[in-house]
Symmetry: C3
Subunit: 299 residues, 3 copies
């Protein structure tokens, strides 16, 4: 198997002309409602506010120098809470990430840890005892710069998340996001959907929300190329399933793929099935406990 | 990666001369015993009847117009309970599924939801609130026709199952089956084994049964091509393992593959290992709780 | 798909000149400490000795005729406890395994069951009722010879383990090891790390140990080819993740791959990232409960 050789080829000299992208992202508090519509319309149940509302800690993107919040967009994962802003780069790019911890509500230490990129241990964002001090733990009011490089094998869909000493609690509170790096030469999809599976506050959540109407309703038109960026964090394993559609994995058609914490799926197809479709985790208790959404395809 | 192009090629015009296959399937009650031999011969334990017997709801195939039950065959998954009748089609075929709900024992609503096929949302078999009424819920005495098309990326092994508002309960009671669509041009195997992993009545079941002697004992001869159609539904993740055999997955030999609810495996080899062999889920508690069977190979 | 043909090609005549390798391995007792450093340095917690120490049962390799223990080496998995000695062979080789059960502490029956190899049912090492007697159960003081053949599709990383009637208990007590068979023509890696994920004594263990400093700290230099042989047994599913590195799976970069009991990963890269890095299971509770280690790369 030429795996080693292929790896060598991939790790070869990166693009000479990569751009440098600066991000300014802070961990901030915001009120969060797992089910703002008040319940589960499939089973017709309502959930009391106290059970579905809490103070979240999310990654929020700011303009240069943390002057003001980056404008929200309608695109899931762009700056509206959970997941945090999607970090985009091209192979060859350098990303300079300015991070601030503004979690005044909980007063917890936080950090950013990035998959996908090549970086020095000082930008790892995780605490290693006897070695690095608590550098992966940024206290409230503190800041840190992470320097990241998108190299030849960085393309794909990857998570970033808190990896401080509060990691488990912080990922449940909302400190997670997606990194998307296109394969060189790959055409951009017409639509891109970020789907982040997690377990939060006793619910099985998608992008921090539970039950249809609360979870995203994605939209596309026939003829468009759609891409699903599916990620998972937390405790559980999941099966990503979309009704009425199939895609190829290593040349074999499928409509149901496994994920576990930090594993991801990049799913693409050319849309040709108009209608309203479910997509959900196929673990029955997860689906019943919120991990389900809608997809509306029009002609 | 040419995934998008390959997908396009696959979704191209289907076979011009596909057949239309009509199926008549009802959800019916039948008495079921998870362990008709009375226990687990590996550990020498017996299980009281009350713990292993219940009234199941299964998919039963009928002749045209639901006139009489389709003859049972010796082949697992053909019409003997769990899984329901295996739905077979070729790429290009149309399947017209006539469904009736005859679950008079529980009086539950039921449906059929199909993976594999292309279909309109009206044939999805799942209830979507605010949109479809309760069309995915067929009441007792009711009926429904699902129209399905085996398209270019429909080949493989896929599940079908209840997706009504009672989905979780109904899949445990027995409403699940397999769809098998050969890859165009692929030779038929000499033997085909349907293996359906589930959790039912507190047991880890294969085809609705637990412990060897109750679960299927499959048979083959050396020189034959055998195909294992392995499917899972329910709550759990599993590892399908066969003793004394290996197969290739994407060019790499394996004997242990992960499954989760609604994911499937198609495993093929040319038989060359005479003897009696175990096959089982390699999760220890699942194996101990019933998810194990025998495979007898003779010369 | 040419799977069947490829399988046929693989099962063709094996190497004419395979060697015969004899192993002498006994199940023996030894005192074991899951966390010999006394606790978890990441969270700064200590664990009382009674909670982390027990009498293990491990596979220990001996010289011919069980005359004396095979010399330990510095390499993980070579003869120092858990996992048992790594069994190495080339495609075409015959392995004759002499096994003795010397578990005088617990007095349990034990066996060896091998993935990877072709063998007759009499060398399967698992008890099958009504058929084999309790041949898969070797009583204390008893012995057994297993005859194994590395055939064309035997290459890869595979587990071996107790498959007697005490399998669940015995795997937790330590009776597991790795089989490594290189793909014909594949160059040897410069470094090879055996990583065995399990659940033992309430901890999520790597090679029988929990928490960094207790779990292995692997070492490599930039420019070296490193191979991670990752295996899992027990009850749980895991996600193997390494910080600061990526590898290819079927042509797609990844840094997080799923495993379940008896599934394995062979991960290779050419090292180019100096520093101290975490590697761990990305299931949060597993990581917090011990399933994490260090990797030191120097120039």
């Amino acid at each position: 198997m030429s795996l080693a050789l292929l790896a060598l080829a991939l790790i070869g000299p990166a693009h000479a002309h990569g751009a440098t992208r600066e991000y300014w992202i802070a961990a901030v508090n915001m009120p969060w409602d797992v089910a703002p519509n008040g319940g589960d319309p499939v089973m017709g149940t309502t959930i009391p506010p106290a059970q579905r509302q809490f103070t979240a800690v999310i990654y929020r993107r700011y303009t240069s120098g943390f002057r003001r919040p980056w404008p929200n967009t309608a695109v899931s994962g762009d700056n509206d809470g959970m997941p945090g802003p999607t970090i985009r780069a091209e192979v060859g790019d350098t990303v300079v990430m300015h991070f601030r911890n503004r979690d005044h509500h909980y007063g917890l230490r936080h950090s950013m840890h990035f998959h996908a990129f090549r970086y020095l241990p000082s930008s790892d964002g995780a605490f290693i005892p006897f070695r690095s001090g608590r550098g992966g733990d940024v206290p409230v009011g503190g800041s840190r710069i992470y320097r990241l490089k998108a190299v030849a094998d960085s393309y794909g869909v990857w998570p970033y998340h808190d990896h401080s000493s509060t990691m488990g609690q912080s990922i449940e509170l909302g400190l997670f996001g997606a990194i998307v790096i296109p394969r060189p030469g790959e055409p951009r999809p017409d639509r891109e959907f970020v789907v982040y599976l997690n377990n939060q506050k006793g619910f099985d959540t998608i992008n921090g929300r539970a039950f249809i109407g609360n979870t995203p309703t994605f939209r596309a038109r026939t003829g468009e190329t759609v891409q699903w960026d599916v990620l998972a964090l937390g405790e559980n394993f999941h099966v990503f399933h979309v009704h009425g559609h199939r895609w190829l994995r290593d040349g074999t058609p499928t409509d149901s793929e496994l994920l576990g914490p930090s594993s991801t799926l990049k799913v693409r197809w050319r849309e040709g099935a108009p209608g309203v479709w479910y997509w959900h985790c196929h673990v029955e208790s997860h689906q019943d406990n919120g991990m389900i959404g809608l997809y509306r395809v029009t002609r």
